[in-house]
């Protein structure tokens, strides 16, 4: 079975204006594969290289070295993104459009047949519980509502791979539960999900496999259950041990 | 101590501002002096309004030529003109556009094209030399003249040119007279406006006595301008004297007519024909 995400020797360098340093290495020799049907957790402290890796997969950033493929196609080709859905960490959409109009816009981009567009929009708005606000412009939405619009637009093309960057960020407990339910539903449908999160309890519950990045390098990768058995502790402690964090006071 | 509520502070400030404005208004009205009655345009533009007035006066000429006119760069580089704005000239009977082309060398600005860009660009410009001299057509130049007069009331040609086209092309002597009187108010010593007013009464209203008075006053103003070394146009004096003699002749006052013609000899380029006319009129004076 071919991996849906296939990253090999990925290297991303940025120019920096820091004194004594001309380039910053954001990702250093990353090898990663995500198989079909998996829910894959992408973990790491802030600045570890998670978002940079996601940006490479989405074609926002050109890698300095190595390769990255989606469904066997190089990520620089737009066609590689035909079967993916993406929910960014900070969700911003055109403030002057309504939720319905945004979904219709993205449906056109994916060339979804006209006959399918309206039923899908109705279904998604029902799923994210925004039916009552479908005709209201985004400018009047709360953060939680905007996040839900984001989720709906990520699912508009019924993607085989969903890339979620901090999907529960800013959501209340009910909102977080709903996101977990959606991820579980997608998994049951055989979809693949790659998501990054700082909510390690959530990751432990939902994910099949995880990878932990630190300072641009992959530190550990494997099945959640295997890692829990190997380290004999929860995922949070594994994470802190991997990144070498020493608490200043005993908790 | 409790802070006063905002609404009371606002009300106090409003009353204070109103009281200040009411008490200072008479002071500023005195300081404004002659400019107290100025329109908003004059107050906003200041002396720069003369520049706009000149632009609008030129715009009237552009309209007179239906857009066939050199732009400001073409004007500055053109040899020989347009030295004077054409609409200031009277349209003489029997003159054709070819005659005008000869007299307006500056209107030959569209010579041979220098390059393909210029050649192609001419298809998007007015490229036929025409005049708005068909009956009623000159109405299009009037708004620009009205605007020019509003911005620079001291530009006398604006009134005389507008009056000419109002009378000859639009057949509106009443409007011409009103406009001229407006110009006279701003320029009380202008012999040009008095002369034009005289023509209104002579040619349009058929009131030769009143025309005579106005033309006489025009002559006096011309002489005063000459005495003050302001170098008034001698052709204007020639025209005033010619009309005075014509009116006196039509009234049967031969000696007055001869007197005006004799004065005209100093200014006229056609001394022979004027001299001949004097002789003819002298024959009519009873001895």
């Amino acid at each position: 079975m071919l991996p849906i995400i296939d990253i090999s020797g990925l290297r991303v360098e940025y120019r920096t204006q820091a004194i004594g340093q001309t380039h910053k290495l954001a990702v250093d020799g990353l090898d990663l594969q995500v198989m079909p049907g998996e829910v894959f957790g992408f973990l790491g402290p802030n600045g570890a290289g998670k978002t940079t890796t996601m940006n490479v997969l989405l074609g926002f950033v050109t890698p300095s070295g190595g390769t990255a493929k989606l469904f066997g196609t190089d990520v620089q080709q737009p066609i590689a993104r035909q079967r993916i859905g993406y929910l960014p960490e900070l969700t911003y959409y055109y403030k002057f459009l309504t939720a319905e109009e945004i979904l219709r816009f993205y449906a056109k981009i994916f060339k979804i047949p006209k006959a399918e567009v309206e039923p899908r929009i109705n279904q998604l708005l029902k799923l994210v519980e925004l039916e009552h606000a479908r005709k209201r412009v985004i400018k009047g939405y709360s953060k939680g509502m905007q996040q839900r619009v984001g989720l709906a637009q990520a699912l508009i093309n019924n993607p085989d791979l969903l890339i979620l960057d901090e999907p529960t960020s800013g959501l209340d407990p009910i909102g977080r539960m709903k996101v977990r339910e959606i991820i579980q539903r997608l998994k049951n449908e055989g979809k693949t999900v790659l998501f990054s999160s700082h909510e390690l309890g959530e990751v432990e519950t939902v994910c099949d496999r995880v990878a932990i990045l630190h300072q641009g390098k992959l530190r550990v990768q494997g099945r959640v259950n295997d890692l829990l058995k190997e380290y004999q502790t929860n995922l949070e402690q594994i994470f802190l041990k991997i990144i070498g964090y020493q608490p200043s006071i005993a908790i | 101590m409790k802070a006063p509520r905002p609404i009371f502070t606002l009300a106090f400030l409003l009353v204070l501002c109103f009281s200040l404005a009411a008490s200072l208004h008479p002071v500023f009205a005195i300081m404004a002096g002659d400019h107290a009655g100025d329109s908003m345009i004059k107050t906003v533009l200041g002396d720069g309004r003369k520049m706009f007035a000149n632009h609008f006066y030129t715009q009237a000429d552009v309209y007179f030529h239906s857009g066939f006119y050199p732009n400001f760069i073409e004007q500055s580089y053109a040899t020989g003109g347009p030295k004077k704005i054409h609409i200031a000239e009277r349209q003489e009977e029997g003159k054709t556009d070819d005659d005008d082309e000869k007299e307006e060398p500056g209107m030959n600005f569209m010579g041979k094209s220098a390059d393909w860009i210029e050649s192609f660009g001419r298809h998007f410009r007015s490229h036929v030399h025409t005049h708005l001299d068909k009956p009623g057509a000159a109405r299009e130049i009037l708004p620009w003249l009205q605007l020019a007069a509003e911005l620079d009331p001291q530009k006398v040609e604006t009134y005389t040119v507008a009056s000419f086209w109002l009378r000859k092309n639009m057949h509106k002597p009443d409007e011409a007279e009103t406009f001229l009187r407006q110009g006279l108010k701003a320029n009380p010593t202008s012999f040009e406006i008095l002369y034009e007013l005289g023509l209104v009464y002579y040619e349009d209203r058929k009131e030769p006595e009143r025309a005579l008075n106005l033309l006489d006053l025009a002559l006096v103003r011309w002489r005063q301008a000459e005495a003050a070394h302001r170098k008034p146009d001698p052709h204007q004096c020639d025209a005033i004297l010619a009309h005075l003699s014509t009116i006196e002749e039509s009234n049967g006052h031969w000696s007055n007519a001869v007197s005006y013609l004799e004065q005209e000899m100093e200014f006229t380029p056609s001394k022979e024909s004027v001299g001949k006319r004097i002789e003819e009129l002298r024959m009519k004076i009873p001895h």
Binding site: Y94 | S66, E74, Y77, I117, H123, F124, F179
Partner: protein, 259 residues
Amino acid sequence: MNVILAIANVVIKELYRRKDFYVLLVLTAVITILMASANIFNDDKVVGYLKETCLRLIWLSALVIAVGTAARQIPAEIEQRTIFPLLAKPVTRWQVILGKFVGCWLASGIAIVVFYAFLMVVSASHEHEWRLLNNFQCLWMEWMFLAIVISMVLLGSVVFAAPSSTLTITLVVVLGILLLGENLNLVAVHQAEPVRSLLYVVYFSIPQFSWFYLGDFVVHKIGSVEWLYIFLASLYSMAYSAFFLLTTWVCFRRKGLNK
């Protein structure tokens, strides 16, 4: 094509949901109506000055709408991060640029159609004739002019740091070309080298915006322009627009999107 039209549709929606267009339309209408109510020597058939004023206002308003709309498209997408969900779809950066261009151009076109409809009503009420051919040619050429301007502004928006700099610089350049562009060859002839050669290079490089103002034909009723020259001028406009858009793509394709 679907993608380009979908992006264009969003740009058009943005234009008519913002206030700029309506403010300029109302301002143009108010100024024109005020001028129409002026008493010009008791003659109500005077219409030339009204058409000229209205046309100049239309040109200025359309220019402000086009430049203002185009200048903020790409910078706003990057600043507000709406570019990320867009580029995460199967959309290329070239399609984004083309979509923005088509959207701004169509939006400006809609705006000038409304303005010209108003102009035709005002002038027909005085002249008692519609003069459809002249007005259509004038409208079409203005739309072609806006195509070049919008593509220039899109290039500027990718090159310069802020939308305000793009707006200012583009307006200054466009107005400069409108005022001086067609006569640069005349100025060049009277200069010494190397200024003469420099002016000639500029003269032959810049788009000749003066070709696109057909106001004289509308105001002075001096016939119409031959369709062949309208067609050639339109081709000229498309060629320049294509050049600016290609340059925009070259600058944008490697531009980092993260701040």
